[in-house]
């Protein structure tokens, strides 16, 4: 897949992984795994980028005697997810056009 496209998609996936409740690094990777494989060194820059864009906020919580960072989606992050859904409708319509008539030929 095109790298730029994939990068944008992964950003959205990470936002989707925290949209219902805040989550932490390893949990995000596990939640995404059935849909898209993401390595730790890929996830880390994404989280930093999303934080810089204020699409999520980070807070450190003490968990069984150590610290864990939880990522919480912001209002802007939720808005980004909504925008993505609209954008994707356009992509689907383009896909339908590209594959038009292919099934009837089979």
């Amino acid at each position: 897949m095109d790298i730029q496209l994939k990068r944008g998609l992964l950003d959205v996936c990470v936002l989707a992984a925290i949209k219902n409740e805040e989550s932490y690094g390893y949990q995000i990777i596990k939640d995404m795994k059935p849909y898209v494989e993401v390595s730790e060194s890929t996830l880390y820059p994404i989280l930093r980028r999303l934080e810089a864009q204020e699409l999520l906020t980070v807070r450190t919580i003490e968990y069984s005697g150590r610290l864990r960072k939880y990522y919480h989606i912001t209002h802007l992050g939720l808005k980004r997810l909504e925008e993505f859904k609209d954008e994707w409708k356009e992509v689907i319509s383009i896909y339908n056009f590209v594959t038009k008539g292919e099934n009837s030929n089979e």
Binding site: G25, E40, S41, T42, K69
Partner: protein, 201 residues
């Protein structure tokens, strides 16, 4: 490699980027290792399942801007003594022009490469525009000059084909340029961090 060795090595390899970024990266990977261990993996397994240190360094670097790296590298760790300021100021006549020359060389190389791409794009457009003589060819045909009409149309098609090829080449070349620029930027960034020993795994 155990957790402490892994984190120490990573820290060493990242030295050169701002301390805050190093700390955050270390915290992130330490948390991951602990979370994996809590789920039942051994320390070794947890570390083996992570990307190699090389990969992590590369990913972290691509996220730190060059100005930040330069600042980290050259910002004095203590305030300068008077004689040092005098030396820096009095040698400015030498190093400022040198720095300007170096920067201009880099900039002109960059601009030069891109102007090549732009020139190619321009010739694509002009060759493509030349294929408009097809109109003249058709007119010729309509007016009964079959030979010159067909010749002109053929020429126009040849122009069009050439333009298409040139266009494709321009597209590929600009894509290559973008990749190249990214590689160069990463390379420049890697100059700012210490050369660590190669990964043993």
């Amino acid at each position: 490699m155990n957790k402490q060795e892994f984190l120490t090595e990573l820290k060493k390899r990242l030295s050169g980027i701002p301390k805050k970024d190093i700390d955050q990266t270390i915290e992130f990977y330490e948390e991951l290792i602990l979370d994996k261990m809590e789920e039942g993996q051994t320390e070794e397994e947890a570390i083996a399942s992570l990307d190699s240190i090389d990969e992590i360094v590369k990913a972290t670097l691509s996220n730190v801007s060059i100005p930040k790296l330069v600042k980290e590298k050259f910002a004095p760790k203590r305030s300068l003594k008077t004689w040092e300021i005098v030396v820096i100021a009095s040698t400015a006549i030498i190093w400022i022009p040198l720095a300007i020359v170096l920067l201009s060389v880099i900039l002109s190389l960059y601009v030069g490469l891109w102007s090549g791409v732009i020139a190619l794009a321009a010739s694509t457009i002009s060759v493509g525009a030349s294929s408009l003589i097809i109109v003249g060819g058709i007119l010729d045909l309509c007016m009964g000059h079959a030979a010159s009409g067909i010749f002109t149309i053929g020429l126009a098609l040849a122009f069009l084909g050439t333009a298409l090829l040139l266009g494709l080449l321009t597209f590929k070349l600009s894509k290559l340029m973008v990749v190249l620029c990214k590689k160069i930027i990463l390379w420049i960034k890697s100059l700012f961090i210490k050369r660590g020993e190669k990964d043993e795994n």
